[in-house]
Symmetry: none
Subunit: 222 residues, 2 copies
């Protein structure tokens, strides 16, 4: 598959713009765990996922993490090129959550084209709106949902992404996704196990009653 | 003051585009407390503040509110026209926090121009990036409260060194002390002002509630 098939506004660019992108594009493989972009110091470029899975998260001073969103096949990461938009005033870290194949479009090339092309600018706008929406969803989760619902939602999402009810995941890792402490997650998982919704074993969490988890996730807090 | 003086990319639009905006523009006054935009059901249009103060907030199903950001003179509100970007998947409410004079640009007119003009599209992008940054700031506050404590600590230390609660200091200078961006400090100081802890004037920051600042500084993150 060619880059042009992954980049939806390719045909709206001029031959010169297409040439500039093709000539500067970097194709890269990243092993699971690789940090591809590290906060505000880098201006890595735009990342376009061929295959695999990336994770965008924020870090506290104390090293706590919160997952903002995931990027899958054909998704483009804009915040790894935040230098192209001076109004972006926050830092995210991007890492490969699975072995990932991707393209990197250099920030300066993309910025030039975005300034010339309404089509590319509007496409960029849609991508930012989409990430903004994911963060707002997370904000609403954090603001109005208790931790049991957030853990249930996380487990259901993971099971959906992985296509299995037996998740090879540690309590520490779940805590990092949700921005909380391992102890909180352990307590919550034990509660869910007592309620028959999950079964815990070393290094795995198995979903044993999806319907009940889904009910918990969707219940009102009040 | 004319609309053209409030809209930074006015001169980059074609005469036809300028004409389309001028002909469709609505000038409006909103008394303090007026709800100008109500979640996902409306596509009110873009709001450009002449004078006054707007507040953007989200509402839980149970009616709890969280303020996302404020809009002051010359600020433009994009999320009141979220129908122009299909990727915006969340609802905000916009109300007048003070008596406010504003213009409303109809969504369909703006969308048309944005699709034609790279300049308008990129301006829209910057506005969205800016609101996205405010929401991320709020998220970090909510998750791990950090920069507010650092700014509070800095102001208290300066006041102690200078022997006065009226500090002749720029936001830029505070940013340089803390190793962050001026915009981050400006946003933080506005937050502290909203909370009644400081008063901002050109070139000065006055501490108006030391006890509250000291309490903020010493609060644990957890």
């Amino acid at each position: 598959m060619e880059f042009s098939e992954y980049f939806p506004v390719w045909d709206n660019m001029t031959p010169q713009q297409q040439q500039a992108v093709s000539a500067s594009l970097v194709s890269r493989s990243a092993e699971k765990g690789t940090v591809l972009h590290n906060g505000g110091t880098d201006c890595t470029g735009l990342l376009l996922v061929k295959s695999g899975q990336l994770r965008a998260f924020i870090l506290s001073r104390e090293g706590r993490e919160v997952t903002l969103y995931r990027l899958f096949d054909r998704d483009m990461c804009l915040l790894s090129a935040s230098c192209i938009l001076r109004s972006i005033q926050f830092d995210v870290t991007i890492s490969a959550e699975k072995d990932t194949q991707l393209w990197i479009i250099p920030s300066d090339i993309y910025k030039q084209i975005m300034e010339q092309s309404a089509s590319v600018a509007n496409y960029t706008n849609e991508i930012m709106a989409s990430r903004f929406s994911e963060v707002m969803w997370l904000m609403e989760q954090i603001m109005w949902n208790s931790m049991d619902k957030r853990v249930a939602a996380f487990l259901l999402e993971e099971a959906s992404i992985e296509g299995t009810d037996r998740l090879p995941i540690t309590h520490e890792s779940i805590a990092n996704h949700l921005g909380t402490h391992r102890e909180v997650v352990t307590r919550m998982l034990r509660y869910l196990q007592n309620e028959g919704m999950v079964r815990l074993a070393r290094g795995t969490v198995s979903l044993t009653d999806r319907a009940k988890l889904e009910k918990l996730r969707s219940e009102s807090n009040y």
